[in-house]
Amino acid sequence: MLEVKGVSKSYSSGNLFRKKKRLALKDISFNLNDHETLCIVGESGCGKTTLAKCLVGLEKVNAGMIKAGEHILNSDKGTVISEIMSRIQIIFQNPDMSLNPKKTIYQVLAEPLILQKVPKSQFNKIIVDSIESVGLGERYLKYYPHQLSGGQNQRIAVARAILMSPDILIADEVTSALDVSVQAHIVHLLMKLKQDRGMTLIFISHDLTLVRRIADRVIVMKDGRIVEIGHTSDIFQNPSHEYTKLLIENMNKMSLTTENKQEIENVVDLESPVMTRIPVLGK
């Protein structure tokens, strides 16, 4: 579906006389398969977001190329935005920043349609469709972002991303700013949309417990390089790279892991006086 070949990206900093170059991505190559959930994990500064930005054409790559079939989407010669926009969409971490506070939800959602020169007569239908598919009603269209909660705003960001029915959806840390129960809502929503619309999902996250749950394949990144790529079960059961081992060890150290759940089910004592009074809670 999407082929990333030898992509490098550097940012320059410093002043006119002392230019510094910082490599953000070094020789990244991978293939994205149809209908899979590919998760990219790594610590802050490892290049996850830069990679996402290159994939949607917000940044031009310095070397290598990103291809979809025969079409070159992003190479050192430049990006083909119109081609990318209808194929790949992105949702960012913080909905408060990615939604324009001066526009109503309707205006926010109409923007991509204007850019794609969709006839005005179809606006209403497409927008209502997409807001309903993220579980919000038509009445939310007249609100401004500040009138909605963080979770609802993130839904709007999802609705905007699926407006043009993209083949690929990139979710860049979409749940890190949200509470666990809201995180569960958004992840369920993404998985459902992926299934209903046959999309491919690239999910960027630093939460390994979450990644383990939803990913088909995992890419582990460190300092701008891919250190390991493989199927979720392989990565979590036999990590080959030292860094992956460290990440998984850290996850096990402090997370309420699944082994823990076993223990929990054994402790539940259905005979305790409280539990017999309310059997439904004891289950």
Binding site: Q183, H185, V187, T209, R213, L256, T258, N260, I264
Partner: protein, 306 residues
């Protein structure tokens, strides 16, 4: 050590009086880590700030907050200043906004130590800096906040909170926004600290609560709905909200909780969780449940246990 009795925080507003925190009772014992967990907007940070009188001026706090024998709500600003930092240290959520960008770490640490009546010798300062796991204190102390990474900044924030060796530390979301590796180092550091002092930890991160706490309180819509010892709590939650919260964690079923929490301007007659609760009874809609003791170390606010 710290006792909160019937604490209620209210704000006057155009829509009438808003009560984001209602009737909170809790005790933090000596040398214990007590954690308040809850989702954003449930009022947990307000509790942390009310203890040291750090709320905005228009906030009204009623009830009693005792630190050992002192009722903190009756103290003057001058007396509170003597308690802040010296007897109760505080670590805030975001180190990039709680540290002063125009002073070096050394001068900020020195200021805190002088303020609490300690002499700020370089030896003492390096010792404190080392105690939070910073290996090259001399170099780090000479740096400004922008030269430090997020993890180092948060370590310094903890160092500042503990600089005058307080008996109690209030940590408000200390791990938010940190990478897992740094988070673990910070947690190990806090675990070290907690052997010698009481910690009131405020967090929405269930993993952090699980790793650090001795006792746990769960807050929902401004009320405490369950208090239990951490080991008992993580093996079984009694309150339906606490249970749903745990079930929405990725390591469990990751089941979303239907609906949303009531807005603070919304008056709820009965149980505040009743419209999202899968076990709801008729009495849940009109009668407000009280926090009742159901076990040796467990209190629950739910009609099912009353």
């Amino acid at each position: 050590m710290l006792k909160l009795r019937d604490v209620r925080i209210s704000f006057p507003s155009e829509e009438g009086v808003l009560v984001p925190v209602d009737t909170v009772d809790l005790d933090v014992n000596r040398n214990e880590t007590f954690t308040i967990i809850g989702e954003s907007g449930c009022g947990k940070s307000l509790i942390a700030n009310s203890i040291l009188g750090l709320l905005p001026k228009d906030a009204q706090v009623s009830g009693r907050i005792y630190l050992e024998d002192d009722d903190l709500l009756t103290l003057t600003e001058k007396a509170l200043k003597r308690i802040r930092g010296r007897r109760v240290g505080m670590v805030f959520q975001n180190p990039s906004s709680s540290l002063n960008p125009v002073f070096t770490m050394r001068s900020q640490l020195a200021e805190i130590m002088k303020y609490s009546g300690k002499s700020a010798t370089i030896n003492k300062m390096t010792e404190i800096t080392k105690s939070v796991g910073i290996d090259d204190p001399i170099r780090r102390l000479a740096q400004y906040p922008h030269q430090l990474s997020g993890g180092f900044k948060q370590r310094f924030a903890v160092a500042f909170g503990t600089a005058s060796d307080p008996d109690m530390l209030i940590a408000d979301e200390p791990t938010t926004g940190l990478d897992i590796t740094i988070k673990i180092q910070l947690i190990e550091m806090l675990a070290q600290l907690h052997r010698e002092r009481s910690i009131l930890l405020i967090t929405h991160d269930l993993d952090v609560a699980y790793t650090l706490s001795d006792r746990i309180a769960v807050m929902y819509a401004g009320e405490i709905v369950e208090i239990a010892s951490a080991s008992a709590f993580f093996s079984r939650q009694f309150h339906p909200y606490a249970r749903s919260l745990m079930d929405s964690h990725p390591s469990r079923d990751m089941k979303p909780i239907p609906g949303t929490a009531p807005h603070i301007s919304q008056k709820v007659e009965g149980c505040r969780f009743n419209d999202r609760c899968e076990y709801g009874h008729a009495c849940c809609c009109n009668k407000h449940p009280e926090l009742v003791q159901v076990d040796v170390d467990r209190f629950v606010r739910c009609h099912a246990y009353a």
